[in-house]
């Protein structure tokens, strides 16, 4: 409608949550909308989105008087040390009608017990890296779509949407990452487009430890989702 959120509104801060998003995505939102994106976290079984980052934007405070957070090793179910990644388990301390004890939300994160520079001593969880059930095992290697997002968002020519297609050829899993080229990154020079594709593949290999094929697609052509995005198409038949 011709309104620029950045220039025509006074919107400064957005409390954003609902699905994992990377710091690079936060930078893009800031540059594009002029909005400081504050990560928030919660689930409807708790009380909805109830934990948020502070102005430091360095981890989501889990209010210690309301909830007790633990991070568990996914395989052994044992608690992991602060800073180690695992499955988040929450115990709600003040909920009455629906008590929740060591509730497995299904999100992957790390816990940070260091006091925050903002002065609060509530423990923080780092970004949500993905869902327990998001994790793909490709050729024996664990891959989270959030790793792919983080890598892609650090490449300026790449748009905000992507799709991961996992398939199996013979005994070998294959991974294809389809990325939208940004309109302004399109060049008539086909060699530059090929170099971009190779650069994306190289960066993904470095981040994931497995090789992925990369396909450049037209801007605004990958499917958009309302609410949680479905980034993965798994065509493997087990």
């Amino acid at each position: 409608m011709g309104v620029s959120i950045k220039n025509d509104t006074k919107l400064r801060v957005g409390l954003l949550g609902g699905e994992p998003w990377s710091t690079k995505m936060r930078d893009r939102i800031r540059d594009w909308l002029g909005v400081k994106g504050i990560n928030c976290y919660g689930s409807s079984e708790m009380y909805g989105p109830m934990f948020t980052e502070c102005s430091e934007q360095d981890g989501i405070h889990v209010w210690g008087d309301i909830a007790y957070a633990e991070v568990l090793d996914q395989e052994t179910g044992e608690r992991v040390a602060p800073g180690e990644r695992g499955e988040l388990v929450l115990t709600m301390l003040q909920k009455e009608a629906l008590p929740m004890i060591r509730y497995r939300v299904g999100d992957i994160t790390e816990i940070n017990t260091e006091p925050c520079p903002c002065g609060r001593t509530h423990p923080r969880i780092r970004r949500i890296f993905g869902r327990v059930d998001d994790m793909l095992i490709i050729r024996g290697i664990n891959v989270f779509p959030s790793q792919v997002e983080h890598t892609l968002m650090s490449i300026p020519e790449v748009g905000d949407h992507f799709e991961i297609v996992v398939d199996r050829k013979g005994a070998l899993d294959t991974m294809l990452v389809r990325v939208e080229l940004k309109k302004e990154a399109f060049t008539d020079n086909i060699i530059q487009l090929m170099e971009l594709r190779e650069r994306i593949a190289y960066r993904l290999r470095g981040a994931l430890n497995i090789g992925a094929a990369v396909e450049l697609v037209e801007p605004d052509t990958l499917q958009r989702f309302e609410g949680k995005a479905k980034r993965v198409v798994d065509r493997r038949e087990i």
């Binding site: 697609v217 037209e218 801007p219």
Partner: protein
């Protein structure tokens, strides 16, 4: 000074799937845009379509409104005689002028044959081609 030789070619990013080209061609038809020359360069899963048309602005506007990724690229159009040796006459001048070609395609028009050239620096290339006696078409000759 050489601006009049910078012909506005349309460059279009397109996924390689059936029906894509037909959709673009139909839009050009509806806009009453005539396509003089046309080529598709093949990438991996996508192509870059390059087209020379009589009304680039009209075509650009329509394609953009369809959500197509399109941009202008400046190319040079060298007149060639439409007879054996015509291409040699044109590229001979390029060799002498020491100009490297990024890509090129050609068409045989009603009046003459035309060699389309994409070079790194169109103005410098135009200058040197003219010095060598090449005939360059101007933008006004396309509309």
């Amino acid at each position: 000074m050489y601006e009049k030789y910078r012909i506005k070619q349309l460059s279009i990013f397109s996924e390689n799937r059936p029906g894509r080209l037909a959709a673009l061609a139909k839009a050009m038809m509806e806009e009453d845009v005539n396509i003089y020359a046309f080529s598709i360069a093949e990438g991996a899963g996508y192509g870059v379509i390059r087209a020379l048309v009589d009304h680039p602005e009209k075509a650009f506007k329509r394609l953009s409104s369809m959500g197509v990724t399109v941009r202008y690229t400046d190319v040079l159009a060298v007149e060639m005689e439409d007879r054996p040796g015509g291409l040699y006459g044109a590229v001979g001048a390029l060799a002498e002028a020491g100009i490297n070609i990024e890509y090129s395609y050609a068409y045989s028009g009603k009046r003459c044959a035309v060699l389309i050239l994409r070079v790194e620096d169109p103005d410098a290339a135009a200058e040197r081609l003219l010095e060598k006696g090449a005939r360059l078409l101007e933008i006004s000759q396309f509309t």
